[in-house]
Amino acid sequence: MVDNTTHSLKRHGVVAGKSLLLAVAMFGFGYLMVPIYDIICEVTGLNGKTGRVSISEAAAEVAEDRLVTVEFVASVNSGGTWKFEPAVKEMQVRPGELNEAMYFAQNLSSNAVVGQATPSVSPQAAAKYFNKTECFCFTRQPFEPKASKEMPLTFIIDPDLPINVDRVTLSYTFFKSPDQTT
């Protein structure tokens, strides 16, 4: 006999409670996917996320017999009021050697703003071999009204870069930072 006695209500409560617990756990899992995603992207170099290393870590034998072309691209996110461009469009580098490149940015608006650049490397396979020791993209960049500045980055291409890659494109997108405090 199935009826809603206290006993069966208790059994319903157990099933409902366990199911609810599963639902709450899965809500948490949705949020857990955020750090998992970041870790996977970092480990595999997916999404063109580049590596950050210290100079001592990056020190490697220079591959004297190999030249790789690095192209520099700059774009401003919609709604941004910046002039933003690389100093040179491309350079030839040897894997293992420390290189410096320069980007130029100017705030075109008459307000003080904080910008943030995010990098992306293509082809994807090259992303995890593209290591930066210093980069303006590591920090937020405050600008006075109409101010301009030169922003450097230093990078080393890992000599383990797959042999079929001879051209790497480094692209920066300049955003208005969500955090405008300086």
């Binding site: 409902a16 809500f27 949020y31």
Partner: protein, 537 residues
């Protein structure tokens, strides 16, 4: 109030006060009766079907010829978005929950759902959720127009009515999760002695598995839309690259929900068809055990195939291969099901009443949609098909002559049990044939324009696609208006018709056919005696 006091024949005159429903509107607002709530869900979904269908007709009217003629592009985009949200969350899901409410207790021999008050809540949240959702169309910033998948950054460019969209989605999710918890508790706890798991009808099994899919994935979706909400209004940057987030991550989280969701929309349909085909083939379901295992396998696989929706976002080769092969693997358990249905019909004494016509239509046309799905699973081919009308053709074949046909089949199959009257068989068959002709006129040409490169979600298109689009629009209006016939048949059946016997169909099997037609307000207050020989499925 022990149940032994209850007389078995519910028709007698001096019955207890609690036998019949309360009178007036309050009956429907306060009801905790599974049959009442099932009815509410089914009416709600029928009304939403016409709202969502109206939106589809606006879309097809605009696409009837190249150029912009009736609506502006922004409104067109909110129509495609709203049409999807209404049809998925407002039609197919509530209709399945309604059928679960009506049929599961009667199929397993339980007096009601396990948690009747929760049941009342899970229904009554829905009209409010959809009022909020649809009201955004009348707000200054308009309805959601970035597609039902709500991809950032596009969706974050929406105006302030975005908050209403998210709020409505949260409510729909809460309703679904509560409904699912109720179904799980009912199936686990309310089965009378002798009703073992493997004696349950396939519809009950498919719903048990669907309920788990809902409980496991709806909260992930709730999390994803909450992230969108905080990105839009509270300064977080989950999906904004400027703050270190990534829009592609949304697609991963969304489709982790979204792919199991498409099985939520089809597994109960498999259950319905598995009930109907044996009845009209007058044979037990072929390979019942394998049907159960196939359903469970599909549910498991649905969690590891999500990125096949995102082949064009850029993925390493290993990822593309994994998601391609795991997707193709789903065709194995799905194939088991299709072959089992065919084997059930094989050498059966088949008759072709309306429910059977819709069920066979389901098997054939769902398989067409399954086949184009297999084509889309092939990564290199998908790069051509992605975001074209080929995709639109694919998922409409599995959802319209798939899920919707199963709902129509279910309505014709069980409506004599609900109303006590037979529906008009001649009109039912007419409804089937008109719908089937027009649904193919509507969706089949979309394969051609899709392969030729017509993008989806665009109000205007190249002239080379004009002819097939015109034909599809003719099909759309034909299919849309023929559904008025469906409503007429339902109304006519409620009003009267040939009286239905309790068995209704000659080959009917299962406990729901042992109670009188119409099913009394309370059934199985006394648990039915079930032994190894009782036919329950």
């Amino acid at each position: 109030m022990s149940s032994s006091d209850h007389a078995h024949d519910h028709g007698h005159d001096d019955h207890d006060h609690h036998h019949g429903p309360a009178k007036g509107m309050m009956r429907w607002i306060t009801t905790t009766n599974h049959k009442d709530i099932g009815t509410l869900y089914l009416w709600f979904s029928l009304i939403m079907f016409f709202i969502g269908g109206g939106m589809a007709l606006i879309i097809r009217a605009e696409l009837g010829s190249p150029g912009l003629q009736f609506v502006d592009p922004m409104f067109f985009n909110s129509m495609t978005t709203m049409h999807a949200i209404v049809m998925i969350f407002g039609v197919v899901m509530p209709a399945f929950v309604g059928l679960a409410n009506w049929m599961i207790p009667m199929m397993i021999g339980a007096p009601d759902m396990a948690l009747p008050r929760l049941n009342n809540w899970s229904f009554w949240i829905m009209p409010f959720a959809f009022t909020i959702m649809l009201s955004t169309l009348f707000m200054d910033s308009g309805g959601p127009a970035g597609g039902w998948t709500l991809y950032p950054p596009l969706v974050l460019q929406m105006g302030d009515s975005f908050a209403f969209v998210i709020f409505a989605i949260h409510f729909m999710g809460i309703s679904s999760v509560m409904g699912s918890i109720n179904i799980v508790a009912t199936i686990f706890n309310m089965r009378p002695p002798g009703m073992t798991m493997m004696k349950m009808p396939m519809f009950v099994w498919t719903w048990l598995i669907t309920a788990y899919l809902l409980i496991a994935t709806i909260p992930v979706f709730a999390g994803a839309v909450t992230m969108l909400l905080t990105d839009r209004f509270f300064g977080t940057s989950f999906f904004s690259a400027a703050g270190g987030g990534d829009p592609v991550m949304f697609q991963h989280i969304f489709w982790f929900f979204g792919h199991p969701e498409v099985y939520i929309l089809i597994l109960p349909a498999f259950g319905i068809v598995s009930s109907i085909i044996p009845t009209f083939a007058r044979k037990p379901l072929f390979g019942y055990d394998s049907m159960v295992y196939a359903t469970a396998s599909i549910a498991f696989l649905s969690f590891i195939v999500w990125a096949h929706h995102m082949f064009t976002t850029g993925m390493p080769l290993a990822g593309e291969l994994f998601f391609m092969f795991s997707t193709m693997m789903i065709s194995v358990p799905t194939g088991v099901k299709v072959f089992n249905w065919v084997a059930t019909m094989w050498r059966g004494s088949m008759t072709f009443e309306t429910p059977m016509l819709f069920a066979i239509g389901f098997v054939i046309m769902f398989t067409i949609g399954g086949l184009s799905g297999l084509m889309l699973a092939i990564t290199p081919a998908d790069i051509q098909y992605h975001d074209t009308y080929f995709v639109v053709a694919h998922f409409h074949y599995v959802l319209v002559p798939g899920a919707i046909y199963s709902l129509m089949a279910a309505t014709y199959y069980w409506i004599p049990k609900w109303t006590g009257n037979m529906y008009d068989e001649k009109l039912g068959k007419l409804h089937f044939w008109i719908s089937t002709i027009f649904v193919n006129v509507l969706f089949f040409p979309m394969h051609f324009v899709g392969l030729a490169g017509m993008p989806r979600r665009i109000p205007d298109y190249n002239h080379i696609f004009a002819d097939w689009n015109f034909i599809a629009t003719v099909g759309a209006f034909g299919f849309g208006f023929s559904q008025l016939l469906f409503v007429y048949i339902i109304m006519k059946c409620i009003k009267g018709g040939k009286e239905a016997t309790s068995e209704v169909w000659e080959g009917a099997r299962g406990l729901e056919w042992t109670v009188p037609s119409p099913a009394p307000y309370h059934t199985f207050e006394q648990a039915p005696a079930i032994d190894a020989n009782t036919v329950t499925r």
